[in-house]
């Protein structure tokens, strides 16, 4: 060291220039660059390795399993890199090393212990070699569902479904052990389709539970269940249910082909599938019946329909459907036929009210007040004199308020929804009238139209009715009654033009060639008259009563 610096207090960088902050920072940046480069090299090597593995692997597979368990473990780890929920448990089966791979949260670990670990670790001596994979599966393991897997994609998919993979040194195949267990919602009461009489259980988000709910209601071997995996990434299970000897010829093939043709990365909701099944995607009317009631599905299956279940979705889809199906409720079949028929007629009337009542109000008030009795016409004129807006604007204002209330109530938690209903219905409803923004009669009209929508058994159908209220209102304001009648005719033409799997969307409604089906359409005849299945669905076997002794 320099003598002049010996007893002096100096900055470190003065003594050692290489330790200055600038230099250190420079070096750090260089180091970061190197690290980055090494990462790039690593990923490039990984890609090359992957490609090399893929080149040697069969077509469609990312790699091929080897006899070496360490190599296989590396391959699985590589495929599931950064998946910390995947667990690896090493142990010995006799002489050989073994590895159990499972996803925590999707697998029943206690079941794995009982049916795999206890069986394999206790039964073979340490010096004894293991036999072939089938011997292990058939003689040693006590798990109910064990399959031999060769393809890596199959193994990874099984693993992510909740199965466990068992890898054993010296064997290139592996075992997929079904020990699925995950948190799920219990079967509970139907929230959106509650009935007064009749069963209360409803579907949940688990596909197997939903299929079991249907199976529990029928012991018919003709009920077929086909399961497909849809969604290139989510690999969601989708089940197709039908009664083989009833469903119309060609219908299952068509639906199956449609399902298999769906090319989508994810299937989260049943609606994701629904949109691929319908032909007119801008049509507001539902062309598939979504229900959470197993009894409705079973009834539909025995009328010759097809049902589609999507894993993780609590609603099942039924098709083909007609307008009548959307207007029927399970309660119709638990009530006396005469009462049920009356209620059905009321529903059809409600549908008309839901679409046309505000439009009729606007056109009568604006163009044809003479159609009203004098007393009523005068009182309406008096009410309207207090409000500054034209009838159409008033109606739109009230309609807008109603839509906002409905949306708010649907989105809010149940406890707050009641409060919001009170605020909306009573406070704002009364206030807008008192503030002379709208007249009281219009509030009644819009409220009645809103209530009519709620009386629809199908929520989506009700939404479609809400949608058509707007063009009806506009037509009424422009062309009065003439406009309303023309709009209703155009709507009829539109409904008549709709097809679901080549069947008319209006079903047997006013179709004299399907007069046999009228027994369970607008009216509901007693059960003993419903001797045959609906002709409109073209079932193979039409006999319902008196077919077999």
């Amino acid at each position: 060291m320099d003598k002049s610096l010996r007893f002096r207090l100096n900055k470190l960088s003065t003594v050692q220039p290489s330790s200055s902050i600038t230099t250190t920072l420079q070096k750090l940046a260089e180091l970061e660059k190197q690290v980055q480069k090494s990462k790039e090299v690593e990923s490039a090597i990984n890609v090359v390795v992957k490609d090399l593995r893929k080149a040697t692997a069969p077509e469609g597979q990312p790699f091929i399993f080897t006899n070496n368990i360490e190599m296989n473990e590396q391959l699985v780890r590589g495929a599931l890199a950064y998946c910390d929920d995947v667990k690896y448990r090493s142990f010995r089966v006799g002489k050989a090393k073994a590895l159990l791979v499972y996803v925590s949260g999707l697998t029943d670990t206690s079941k794995l212990e009982r049916t795999v670990l206890e069986c394999l670790t206790g039964r073979l001596e340490n010096s004894k070699p293991v036999g072939d994979i089938n011997e292990i599966a058939n003689l040693l393991l006590t798990a109910a569902n064990v399959t031999v897997v060769i393809k890596p994609t199959e193994a990874i998919t099984d693993l992510l479904k909740g199965h466990s993979l068992l890898l054993i040194d010296g064997i290139s195949e592996m075992l997929s052990i079904d020990a699925v267990k995950y948190e799920k919602r219990q079967i509970s009461k139907a929230e959106n389709e509650d009935v007064a009489k009749g069963p209360h259980d409803s579907f949940n988000e688990t596909l197997s539970d939903n299929i079991a709910l249907v199976r529990r209601r029928t012991k018919d071997p003709s009920l077929k269940v086909e399961i497909f995996e849809i969604g290139s990434r989510t690999q969601t299970s989708v089940a197709l249910l039908y009664v083989d000897d009833i469903v119309k010829v060609g219908l299952v093939d068509e639906v199956r082909n449609q399902l298999l043709a769906i090319c989508i990365d994810k299937v989260i909701l049943s609606a994701n599938i629904e949109e691929f099944l319908i032909d007119r995607i801008w049509n507001p009317f539902p062309q598939v019946l979504a229900t959470e009631r197993p009894d409705k599905i079973v009834a539909g299956l025995y009328e010759g329909r097809i049902s589609i279940f999507v894993d993780n979705s609590p609603t099942a889809m039924m098709l083909p459907i007609t307008l009548q199906d959307l207007m029927q409720s399970v309660d119709d079949y638990t009530q006396r036929p005469a009462v049920a028929s009356l209620i059905r007629c009321m529903r059809y009337l409600s549908a008309l009210i839901a679409v046309f009542l505000p439009a009729l109000y606007v056109c009568i008030v604006s163009y044809h007040p003479g159609m009203l009795p004098s007393g009523l016409a005068f009182s309406i004129a008096e009410l309207r004199a207090r409000t500054p807006f034209p009838a159409l604007l008033e109606a739109f204002l009230m309609e807008g308020l109603l839509e906002i209330f409905q949306e708010a109530i649907v989105r809010l938690p149940q406890k707050l929804a009641a409060a919001a209903g009170v605020v909306g219905g009573l406070v704002i409803g009364t206030t807008v009238v008192e503030a002379a923004l709208v007249n009281a009669l219009l509030v009644v009209v819009i409220a009645l139209a809103g209530l009519s929508v709620f009386s629809m058994p199908s929520y989506t159908f009700g939404m479609a009715l809400r949608f058509f209220r707007i063009p009806a209102l506009i037509a009424a304001s422009v062309l009065g009654l003439y406009g309303v009648v023309i709009t209703s005719i155009v709507m009829i033409v539109f409904l008549c033009s709709l097809r679901t799997y080549s069947e008319s969307y209006l079903g047997d409604l006013f179709d004299i060639t399907l007069i046999e089906d009228w027994k369970d359409g607008l009216m509901r005849f007693p059960a003993k008259f419903l001797t045959s299945r609906p002709k409109r669905l073209g079932p193979k076997d039409r006999t319902r009563i008196g077919g077999e002794e």
């Binding site: 060609g250 163009y367 159609m371 062309l479 009065g480 003439y482 005719i489 069947e503 209006l506 179709d511």
Partner: protein
């Protein structure tokens, strides 16, 4: 998908309903005045005879079409009379139907502009109605069949309102019961063209019907019978309520008759408005059906795959003529033209064609025997 194939065809009964449902339109409102000028209080008798008269024309058309099953008039006419005459006859057929659409448009929009919208431009009402008709005619036959079967329910409703005129019924207005003006009654029959226009569509619709055990002549005959009964009772009610003299003097006698009806103690007032509401779908059926038949006829004649190509072709023509014929004078001239061309087609061309078919058939059989 066997059901789909069936939807494109109709049963003989459906044919009966469809072909006769197109007869009743708002045209009868103004046509009544023209008929009463000749038949006076025997409007009902004239209507009954007209039913037989026009059914005979429809029957001849059915017989003609039965000689060429699965073919429309545009397909077999050139074979029968040669290409040149075939084209002329086909054009006359298309004109008859287009004139029917135009007449319906005029009748309905005039009615609406007088009783519902006195300040709305006539052209606006015309275009709205025509666009709605075009939308229906653009659909396939299965859809149109369903539309007609639903809208036909407006017919009984219309008749319910119409029958309210009974409340003002005076039997004395129908006297004398024994007709002494037979010539007038027969003249009135010819003026019933507006009452029974549209059955010409049978010449295109018959191949769309399944041949069953019941003959088409029978089902169409039942349809004619129902319509004739409606007209006969309608005539009795109208003359009995507002007298033949009043009907002669006013332009829309049925609406006038409805205006005079009062239902005390009920909510319903201005019954004529309700009646117009039900006239719209009833007339719409006839318009959509005729429009489809025109397009389908052209498709078959020109051997196209889709009838929809021909729908927009005729729209400007119908719109322009309907908008132009907006005064009572022009309407009267146009009505006369439509009456003569319809009668000429039904009672001159069709019998000649049928005669030619029978003669050809006879000579063919003779050749076979020889």
């Amino acid at each position: 998908m066997e059901n789909l194939e069936r939807k494109g065809k109709m049963s003989p009964w459906q044919l009966g309903i469809i072909s006769t449902s197109g007869l009743l339109t708002a045209r009868l409102l103004s046509a009544t005045t023209n008929v009463v000028i000749y038949s006076e209080q025997f409007l009902w008798l004239s209507s009954a005879l007209a039913g037989v008269f026009f059914y005979s024309a429809a029957y001849l058309m059915i017989r003609l079409a039965e000689q060429f099953p699965e073919e429309t008039i545009g397909e077999y006419i050139p074979r029968l009379v040669g290409k040149k005459f075939g084209t002329i006859i086909f054009l006359v057929f298309i004109t008859v139907l287009l004139v029917n659409i135009i007449n319906c448009t005029i009748a309905l929009t005039t009615l609406s502009s007088i009783f519902l919208f006195d300040r709305t431009p006539h052209e606006f009402l015309v275009i709205v109605l025509l666009l709605a008709v075009v939308y229906c005619a653009m659909q396939n036959w299965g859809t149109i069949l369903r539309v007609i079967q639903i809208l036909i329910f407006a017919l009984p409703m219309l008749y319910i309102f119409y029958s309210l005129i009974w409340l003002n019924f005076e039997p004395l207005n129908l006297l004398p019961l024994w007709p002494d003006n037979f010539i007038g009654i027969l003249q009135g029959v010819a003026y019933h063209t507006d009452y029974y226009a549209g059955y010409e569509s049978l010449l295109v619709l018959l191949p769309l019907a399944n041949r069953g055990e019941i003959s088409f002549a029978r089902t169409v005959g039942w349809g004619f019978l129902v319509i004739t009964l409606i007209y006969v009772f309608g005539g009795i009610v109208l003359i009995g309520s507002i007298t033949a003299k009043t009907v002669e003097l006013i332009h829309e006698p049925v609406i006038y008759g409805m205006k005079s009806v009062e239902l005390p103690g009920t909510f319903i007032e201005r019954l004529e408005n309700y009646m117009i509401i039900f006239f719209i779908p009833v007339t719409y059926i006839s318009m959509a059906l005729s429009y489809f038949v025109v397009a389908e006829g052209c498709r078959k004649y020109l051997k196209y795959n889709d009838h929809r190509i021909f729908i927009p072709v005729f729209l400007p023509l119908i719109f322009l003529v309907s908008s132009f014929v907006d005064t009572p004078q022009r309407q009267a001239v146009f009505q006369h033209f439509s009456m003569f061309i319809a009668l000429f087609f039904s009672f001159v061309i069709i019998p000649i064609l049928l005669f030619l078919v029978w003669r050809k058939k006879g000579s063919d059989q003779q050749c076979e025997v020889e």
